[in-house]
């Protein structure tokens, strides 16, 4: 047994993981712990991890749901490699998570669930808690959460079965004690969520949370408490934001800035549904939301509405992207603005619907018929989804083109503190509308951007027809071979020309050296942390993270040329790697991982080191 200390130990950061049955409310307690830590002024990053089944059979390994977060007093870029403390609500949660808990880590278990039935369901032949070696290995805290919760709610009018369901908040209260977290944000949450509708439930949860906290105070074994002070950040107003929320807010903001009504159409799919649900809540912002009959229809609705002058958006995930392909081609040839968000998940097919993967970069670039380049950008963190949404809209409206915005499950569901921007500081986005006083030639292009202009149905005198057949500049159908070639070149040049509007790539570390790490999307935190650590250790390693994947920034080739080696870590089998090799003829080292999980900082550290020695 690790000896508990009696002090309030100051630490820089901590990683906590809650694990239990899908019905145990682990996502909820994780979210609350996050809010409380944000309120305490820490920087945070979160990793919700849940099974594909809504309620897999209780107590089984398949039904385990987890939530990990890291909080600290410095910039926190990842949810942490391994937990410092693990809360396991049942044997299945213990079994599937204990492998990640390092020796000496704090292990809080709900002992009343360690009965033979549950042990058997989890595949334990005997109770691990009876094993002396096991007990010695961790800082084990055994709580009878069911009993303690019942006891705390002796006087509550709730039904006994409802009382027991509050036990997740007992565990949360206890962890709040251990890490010195404020209770207020959670108490406020109970009040906001149930205060009016189910006051008894709000009351019971508050009681249980406090009881958990107070237990810590009275318990010998829990004496070590940790303190994580505030992270130094720029002054301003902050809030916690998830990737999907940031995407929603970015789209709403962009529509305001472009002065164009927002129409969203989507078909439910994990992990993109929260975008549909989030925008549907915002009818007071004038947003039109259409839940279409499938992803093809969602895309058609968006394209029709774009033709009629709205700013239009669809969000989906891999399988939905497959269905949209034909329509994306139509959007490209008719040169209509439209945003297609792909919140990536493990593929192919239904694949790993609730796990993260950088699955669809090549699909975004190439999955169309004909030569059909489309701008592609990728968000690297939850709050970056806000900026990327605005950037996607800028590109779409300036260049009259569909744009693919890649997010992923890790970015979409993860959360971090976000400095709320001042709306008036965000630049206006210009539209490429036709001028009524000029003769309207549908595919006449702006010499700078090569974008055509758009006339909107209802505008007098600008009646015109567009469609999927190849056409000449005036929009007339043309099967002329030279025209087709010219039009294809023009569409490609237009997209390639977007690179001219991009800022120089930001290099972390020296502008030249031994190893350059190139990343894109949700791997930013892990790559950046690992590279920073190596630089601190004196190695010559720099890293860049690409937001624009098509077109690639103009300065990328130069930067690559200044390093002896280039490595591309990706949560796929080497998709960006393939692009870089094709475009720059460099011998890029690919490091792929396909486990439905984000990179650990430690594994990247080790991998980079291999190529530095």
């Amino acid at each position: 047994m690790i000896q508990p200390t009696d002090s309030f130990e100051e630490i820089d950061s901590a990683v906590v993981r809650f694990a239990g049955d899908s019905g145990d409310g682990m996502q909820t307690v994780g979210e609350r712990f996050t809010d409380s830590s944000a309120f305490a002024g820490n920087d945070i990053a979160t990793l919700p991890d849940f099974p594909a089944e809504i309620r897999a059979p209780a107590g089984t390994l398949a039904g385990v749901s987890g939530f990990q977060l890291q909080f600290g007093n410095t910039k926190i870029l990842t949810p942490g490699d391994e937990p410092d403390a693990l809360v396991a609500m049942n044997p299945a949660a213990l079994k599937s998570n204990i492998g990640d808990l390092p020796e000496g880590g704090m292990l809080v278990v709900n002992i009343d669930s360690f009965k033979s039935m549950n042990l058997k369901k989890a595949g334990y032949e005997s109770n691990p808690l009876d094993d002396e070696d096991f007990r010695k290995k961790y800082h084990l805290i055994e709580l009878d959460l069911t009993g303690l919760t019942k006891e705390a709610l002796k006087e509550s009018p709730l039904k006994p079965s409802d009382k027991v369901r509050c036990k997740n908040f007992f565990a949360l209260g206890f962890m709040y004690y251990v890490y010195g977290r404020p209770l207020e944000p959670t108490l406020k949450f109970f009040e906001q969520k149930w205060g009016k509708r189910l006051p008894d439930l709000a009351e019971a949860n508050s009681k249980v949370l406090k009881a958990g906290f107070n237990l810590g105070d009275t318990m010998e074994t829990a004496r070590n408490r940790y303190q994580v002070s505030k992270a130094p950040v720029q002054a301003g107003v902050y809030r916690k934001i998830s990737g999907n929320e940031a995407l929603v807010y970015g789209l709403v903001t962009a529509s305001r800035k472009a002065n164009r009504e927002l129409l969203y159409s989507g078909y439910p799919i994990t992990p993109a549904s929260p975008v549909l649900e989030g925008l549907s809540q915002l009818k007071n912002f004038g947003i039109k939301c259409v839940q279409a009959e499938d992803e093809i229809a969602a895309m058609g609705v968006a394209l029709g509405a774009s033709f009629a002058g709205d700013l239009t958006v669809c969000a989906t995930s891999g399988p939905g992207m497959c269905l949209k392909s034909e329509f994306i081609g139509l959007a490209s040839i008719t040169e209509l603005p439209l945003i297609i968000c792909n919140v990536q998940r493990g593929g192919p097919s239904t694949g790993l619907p609730t796990k993260t993967e950088q699955s669809d970069l090549l699909q975004a670039l190439f999955s169309r018929h004909g030569d059909c380049p489309i701008p592609v950008i990728a968000a690297h963190s939850p709050s970056d989804c806000f900026d990327c949404a605005i950037e996607a809209v800028r590109i779409a409206l300036t260049y009259m083109t569909p744009v693919i915005l890649l997010s992923d499950l890790y970015v979409a569901n993860g959360a971090e503190p976000w400095r709320v921007p001042n709306v008036s500081d965000i630049p206006v986005i210009e539209n490429s509308f036709a001028k009524i006083e000029e003769e309207y030639v549908i595919y006449r292009r702006d010499p700078k951007t090569l974008a055509r202009t758009q006339a909107i149905p209802g505008q007098v005198g600008l009646e015109h027809r567009i469609g999927g057949l190849e056409k000449g500049e005036d929009g007339g159908v043309s099967y002329d071979p030279d025209n087709h070639e010219e039009m294809s070149h023009l569409r490609a040049q237009k997209v390639a020309g977007i690179a001219k509007s991009l800022d120089p790539i930001e290099i972390q570390g020296e502008p030249e050296g031994d190893l350059l790490v190139i990343g894109w999307g949700g791997t930013y935190g892990a790559i950046s942390s690992a590279a920073t650590n190596l630089r601190d250790e004196g190695f010559s390693v720099s890293n860049i993270h690409l937001r624009h994947l098509n077109p690639l920034p103009d300065d990328l080739g130069d930067i690559i040329g200044r390093f002896k080696k280039v490595i591309v870590p990706e949560l796929n089998l080497g998709q960006l790697n393939l692009l870089l090799r094709a475009k720059y003829l460099v011998d890029v080292i690919s490091y792929g991982k396909l486990q439905g999980k984000p990179f650990k900082v430690s594994e990247l550290h080790e991998k980079f080191l291999e190529h530095l020695r």
Partner: protein, 342 residues
């Protein structure tokens, strides 16, 4: 669909003709339908810039290129989705959707179903030639069993879909049929479609001279039509025949043909009642087919009062706007923000 008449305008058919060469085969029924639509639109009192014609893919779907309005020739089967987007973005537009029997009932049947049930205020014209024209003559989902084509040398084996039954099954609020052989009837039917608020579904019997010539001749030809077409008129008994001496009577749940006279009069016949909320009547009509029955043309069903999708959607937005603020800065800040001071 119905769009309020905004102003007197002096549009004529010429205003709706594009300079583009029309590229249908000589003799194709599509010409007559184009002519009918170009003659209908100027009479609706709607300014030209308010019209949008949306189509899928097929010979029929080339239609927008020949209409001097806003137009969108989309992809195979998906016109209902694009038309929906146009209408939701701007409910003031008069949206006309052109589709074929393959486009609308094979690859795009799912979308058509959802358009009809959502009841957007859009006019759908389905050109039924019972064949895939553009791909050079394979059988279609409306081809009769046993249809011999290049892809079915021994005859097709699958049971065809009846477009009217499909529309009724989707609970369309306006279901009609007309034929490319009757200009006057087409114009009348298209006007009725436009006057209806909600999705108006019109099946147009269309002759493909090249791959399925005369497929409807047994009912629409000069010789046959008197005895084979039953022209529906609201409030009138179902009477047909060269001498108007035959009628349709209900026997239990089954329609039967009776000859007038000999004690059988108009009072014994079914009276055409397109607005009957019970769809059983319209279904009986839709199932009346050659050669057992005369083929009904006209408006089978017109149900007023069901809200359109776009109206309901806009109403929800207006309601939310009347209740909650649209302050973007407040939205971004949220309810659980905190302030960091340096």
């Amino acid at each position: 669909m119905s769009t309020t008449i905004t102003e007197e305008n002096n549009l004529t058919k010429k205003d709706f003709v594009t300079p583009n060469d029309v590229r249908w085969c000589p003799g194709c029924g599509d010409y007559a339908i184009l002519n009918a639509v170009q003659r209908t639109l100027p009479e609706l009192g709607i300014p030209r810039e308010q019209f949008v014609v949306v189509s899928g893919i097929g010979c029929s779907s080339r239609f927008p290129y020949y209409m001097n309005t806003y137009g969108f020739h989309t992809i195979h089967g998906r016109a209902p989705t694009v038309a929906t987007g146009v209408k939701v973005a701007n409910p003031d537009l008069s949206v006309w959707m052109i589709t074929g029997d393959g486009d609308g009932l094979s690859i795009g049947a799912n979308h058509l179903l959802h358009l009809l049930r959502r009841n957007l205020d859009i006019n759908v014209l389905l050109f039924n030639n019972r064949i895939y024209g553009l791909t050079k003559g394979q059988y279609s989902p409306t081809s009769e069993v046993g249809k011999k084509t290049k892809s079915t040398p021994l005859g097709s084996v699958d049971h065809p879909i009846n477009p009217l039954l499909f529309a009724l099954g989707s609970e369309a609020t306006f279901v009609a049929r007309t034929t490319d052989t009757d200009m006057k009837h087409m114009i009348e039917t298209f006007k009725a479609a436009q006057a209806h608020k909600g999705t108006s579904f019109v099946e147009v019997f269309q002759n493909c001279v090249i791959f399925n010539n005369k497929t409807f001749d047994s009912v629409t030809s000069r010789d046959a039509k008197q005895d084979q077409l039953l022209t529906l008129e609201e409030g009138k008994p179902l009477v047909f025949g060269a001498n108007k001496d035959k009628g349709i009577r209900l026997n239990g749940l089954d329609p039967e043909i009776v000859t007038l006279g000999d004690g059988i009069g108009h009072d014994d016949l079914l009276i055409h009642q397109p607005s009957n909320p019970n769809s059983a009547y319209a279904n009986i009509l839709a199932q009346m087919t050659y050669p057992t029955f005369p083929t009904p043309v006209g408006v089978l069903r017109q149900l007023d009062g069901r809200e359109t999708y776009e109206d309901a959607l806009i109403q929800q937005i207006e309601y939310a706007q009347s209740k909650d603020s649209d302050n973007l800065q407040e939205l971004l800040t949220g309810q659980n923000s905190w302030v960091v001071e340096n």
